[in-house]
Assembly symmetry: C2
Homo-oligomer: 641 residues x 2
């Protein structure tokens, strides 16, 4: 069988592959991650690469223009290899790391960037500090009395005796690993040791025993594992201080953009393994960068708490998620046991523990539980709503007496995936857009004021609102205006937001009618879920006291514009509160307090899952929401274009 | 460096070794186990081999006669290799497996062979059946309702829910291994599965999940890991029936005969690893033979309970026992956590559990706890004594109100180790001896009436008593008679029990003055420990209601002769009860009942360890016991020679 060498730039990674393999599969084998939202179906056009050298066979696709073809730009997923190749992966097709400083990111994630004046700052609303400080992994320094002929209890019982004299533990346990080292360790350290105690289900495990006093070195990680993006935080477990935060694309994106595509992929040969490795690689890379930037020894990271949707958590632990997508939509597990991080393929201290926030159902995972925990809506007097807009949109309605959750498959459009020029809220993303009504000229600002690389979720919301305002699109989302920025393509009309000469890109930054359709479906899915959930509980939208908006894009969300396009209900603006990444905040609370961990368990039991698709009114409500802002304008009284 | 090939017969195992290595070290590397009681010091003479081909360099040793040398018989430990070799290992130097049928062995171990008429049969005294049948691993068959849209709890919670509806468990847990298989397993088995539940400290673990109903296949093993011999039993955990029992030499004997030699060896490079591997190999061989003889699938063996002295248990779990022999004699651990048998290197079901009976101190291990449990002395009204005669002799005195234990380093002489013609109570062992006073002719019987291979513990007791009776030895143990069977050797006098032409051996079966000295020290150590313990508690020997005799040799013990040589105190014969291997019986009780497991934990806490060596009267008492039967004949009023 013919074998060809393919070299990827700028990574300079070379791999030998068989003839007729696609460039995408070669890239995956080489460990080079290319965005591939549709999972390799040649539809999304996210995986454009430049073939600099060599022969390929490329299928025609609406996602590639004639001009791009002339410039040797191809879709990696639909292009097979017919000779040795040199392939350049442009910035826009890469699954890249943030170039944010930790401080910038932390500021962003804390949600303080609310741009609508009458919105309360988030920190007041996050439930930090209401739980007692009792981290998942706690260090305890002990000075033991040396044994004598009169006090000759064994080394391990000596340790247990000292521990029990300090605190009453329900059940103490440790593994043979620690016992094997114990004799020498106690004597070499002159009976002065530090124990790392971890909560393991209903027992306390002695995770580690170290010589001397190492209590000042105790770190943990909280993670939010999203379908599209993954965020990780390094936390000092003693001071509760967040040392740094990193967000990056989930490398699983190379295997499809939504959970359904991933579940299908997991069913293929080695699919589960590849998806598992991709999420581990992403997390391990975040961890490596965090510990290196903050001069933390990986061995001093003793625990991780992960929130994530049910499919993501299954994949993290190599549990086949197959049954999540088959009626009656049952996951294998919602409450996962605490495991060693190493068992899940995550590199921290080899004995360190990993806990997953318990999930509610197949389509409401631990990220929702964590969001309910950190938003605090489980203890409010009046009904509040939590809207977490990710690839799946989760909506929870409730108060101290009841909590009901539903999931809307919004798709990743607001995370900048599956739309032509989309990108997540990272450096160079267009996050704010205005259009001059007269000449249709565009002004925009990018994150960190870098040259524009694409449009993130908040940018799209602004863009849609501005296009509606300027009359570029009608209420159905069709482009009806004409001008220099409006072009006809093979697949319909597009509007140029930013010409490529203003960028370092190989194409213009555009929004086309397919993108608008995509965004419309996303906003329609979220809005109609909101409406159905309220109706299901016999409430009115107006009776909701607060609406907490969470999600990777939420930190920049312009509420006014979000209402204008019909993503959020048209309520008093003061009711909206941005809380940023509430799943990550909840995971951090759990990391820092065993009380919060116990509360998360309770919440996962308390929250009732409501399956939208079984509600007879859902399809009707959804169809009505497929207009800007809505078919029934009476529902959006303040909206005027 | 020169390398030579050494082939061992009858194993036909060949290994390549460097010049100047000893034959013993070559044999260990080749996996051929040679008896080496002194740990390779050239003293014990147990490791005689015949060099059939090739050149060796052999150090002179009192343990080899000139005639043996002429016949190319050498000590494997003191003979270095100088060419390719062919080496025959005679039967008497091998660490061999029993050729007993399981039935024979079981009968023996049950202790029914008491030869003194007025001794109660043991079964009445063993505490079988007083604990509720609740095995260490229990199987439970469940038929789960299939999930529906209205009942969509996750697979794992469905399992937990069904379990909890049957019984209240304190804490249920399972590992990620089972969860990974769960989704397919439940569906493929149409929601009918069998759980194996194991007690893991204070929680219940779902050890295994199997499709269908496999409750009829649930087996476990109990083990007694002695310094010299290891016994294992295969038990049907449902019916409580013992399927078979095997006893063999601990392959660690190649590294020294007593715990102190082993501890020293463990401190050498790779010593701990070698000792660990030797005990694992021994146990795994017993297990393989047991399951194969009883047509049990190794995967259906779900748990093991091990009793053993503290050093043996440390070595089984690869915990360095170094500090056991250093003042203040502290072991690393007495209460070991339950581990997977695989973690300890023991081959049963890869997920199967292993529990060690908790020990009391460095020199009173879990074998003593198990003995106290099975003898039932912890619940008697009047003080009783348990004497377990092994390489270490453990003695426990107590009743329902108190329990005190001590340990006497008896040495392995009564287990047939460290004495010229000694062997353990296996096929061909001389177990009963009489000597004609007139012509000093010897009559004997062997186990299974095979040609004699050596003398076991009960044979030595009879032999010593007969030699005293016949006036062959004096009360100090010196050979004073003359005759055809009495010979002078380089190292003193010896008495021929059995000439080699009656055997298949290469030497006569003899007892020499060094052997007698050795046996005298053993019996002196046991007797004086008994006496000191009674005195320490302010009691009289005569006030002891029952004396339970346990140990590998105890099953054949002639009480009359044991009192005659001063091993046991001169009390009413009706007070003595043989209970065979009480440590193995206790381990089996624990295997079959979680109540017994909890009781063993309690007992290990309740039993007080008394260190003999700190008692000012001990050395005096010991010296007085170094006569047959004793310096103070008033203590043995019924003994007449």
């Amino acid at each position: 069988m013919d074998k060809f060498k393919v070299t990827f730039y700028p990574d300079k990674k070379t791999i030998s592959v068989a003839k007729d393999k696609t460039i995408l599969s070669a890239a995956i084998s080489a460990g080079v991650y290319i965005n591939s939202a549709c999972g390799g179906d040649g539809v999304c056009g996210r995986c454009k690469v430049i073939v600099k050298q060599g022969q390929v066979n490329s299928q025609a696709s609406g996602a590639i223009t004639l001009e791009e073809r002339k410039n040797n730009i191809h879709l990696a997923c639909s292009t097979t290899i017919h000779s040795d190749l040199e392939v350049e992966i442009p910035e826009s097709s890469r699954l890249n790391f943030d170039k944010f400083t930790p401080e910038e990111l932390e500021e962003r994630l804390s949600g303080l960037y609310s741009k609508t004046e009458n919105i309360q700052p988030v920190k007041a609303n996050l439930q930090e500090g209401i739980f007692k400080h009792s981290p998942f992994a706690t260090k305890l320094y002990l000075e033991l009395p040396a044994p004598t002929l009169d006090d000759s209890v064994s080394d391990l019982e000596r340790l247990y005796r000292a521990l029990r004299s300090i605190e009453k533990f329900p059940v103490l346990q440790t593994g043979i690993f620690n016992i094997r080292q114990l004799g020498e360790l106690l004597r070499d350290s002159e009976w002065k040791v530090t124990l790392t105690l971890g909560k393991r289900n209903d027992t306390i495990e002695i995770v580690l025993i170290e010589p001397g006093n190492t209590t000042h070195k105790n770190f943990g990680l909280s993670f939010d594992i999203g379908t599209t993006t993954i965020s990780g935080q390094l936390v000092n477990l003693n001071s509760k201080k967040i040392l740094g935060t990193k967000t990056t694309y989930n490398q699983q994106a190379a295997f499809g953009s939504d959970v359904i595509t991933r579940i299908v992929y997991a069913g293929q040969a080695h699919g589960l393994e590849k998806l598992h490795n991709a999420v581990c690689d992403t997390m391990n890379q975040i961890i490596r960068e965090l510990v290196s930037e903050h001069n933390v020894d990986l061995n001093d990271v003793n625990c991780i708490v992960c929130s994530g949707n049910t499919t993501m958590i299954h994949l993290l632990l190599s549990v086949n998620p197959a049954h999540i997508r088959k009626e009656p939509y049952v996951p294998t597990v919602n409450f996962l046991p605490v495991v060693r991080a190493a068992e899940a393929g995550i590199n921290i201290n080899p004995r360190g523990l990993l806990s997953c926030v318990p999930g509610i159902s197949s389509y409401c995972g631990g990220d929702t539980t964590a969001g309910v925990l950190s938003s605090g809506i489980y203890q409010t007097d009046k009904p509040c709503m939590l809207i977490d807009i990710g690839t799946n949109g989760e909506i929870v309605l409730g108060d101290k007496d009841f909590l009901v959750a539903c999931a809307a498959s919004a798709g990743p459009a607001f995370e900048g995936s599956g739309v032509t020029s989309g990108m997540r809220a990272a450096s160079g993303a267009i996050q704010k857009v205005e259009i001059n009504k007269k000449d249709l000229s565009v002004s925009y600002s990018t994150i960190q004021d870098k040259k524009p690389r694409g449009i993130c979720g908040s940018g799209y919301i602004d863009l849609l609102a501005a296009m509606l305002n300027a009359g570029i699109i009608d209420k159905g989302g069709k482009i009806k205006a004409t001008g220099a920025r409006i072009r006809q393509t093979d697949t319909g009309k597009e509007f140029v937001v930013c010409f490529k000469d203003e960028t370092d890109l190989i194409s213009d930054i555009v929004i086309n009618e397919a993108d608008i359709e995509n965004l419309k479906r996303s906003k329609g899915a979220i809005y109609s879920a909101t409406a159905i959930l309220v109706k299901h509980l016999g409430l009115q939208l107006s009776s909701i006291a607060k609406i907490f908006i969470a999600g990777g894009f939420g930190t920049y969300l312009d509420i006014e514009n979000a209402i204008k396009i019909g993503l959020l209900p048209d309520l008093a603006r003061s009711k909206f509160v941005f809380i940023g990444n509430s799943a990550l905040a909840g995971a951090r609370q759990i990391l820092l307090s065993n009380q919060a961990m116990a509360m998360a368990d309770l919440l996962a039991c308390r929250i009732t899952y409501f399956e939208l698709s079984v509600d007879p009114g859902y399809m009707d409500e959804y169809s009505q929401a497929l207009f800007f802002p809505h078919t029934d304008l009476a529902k959006f009284p303040t909206v005027k274009y």
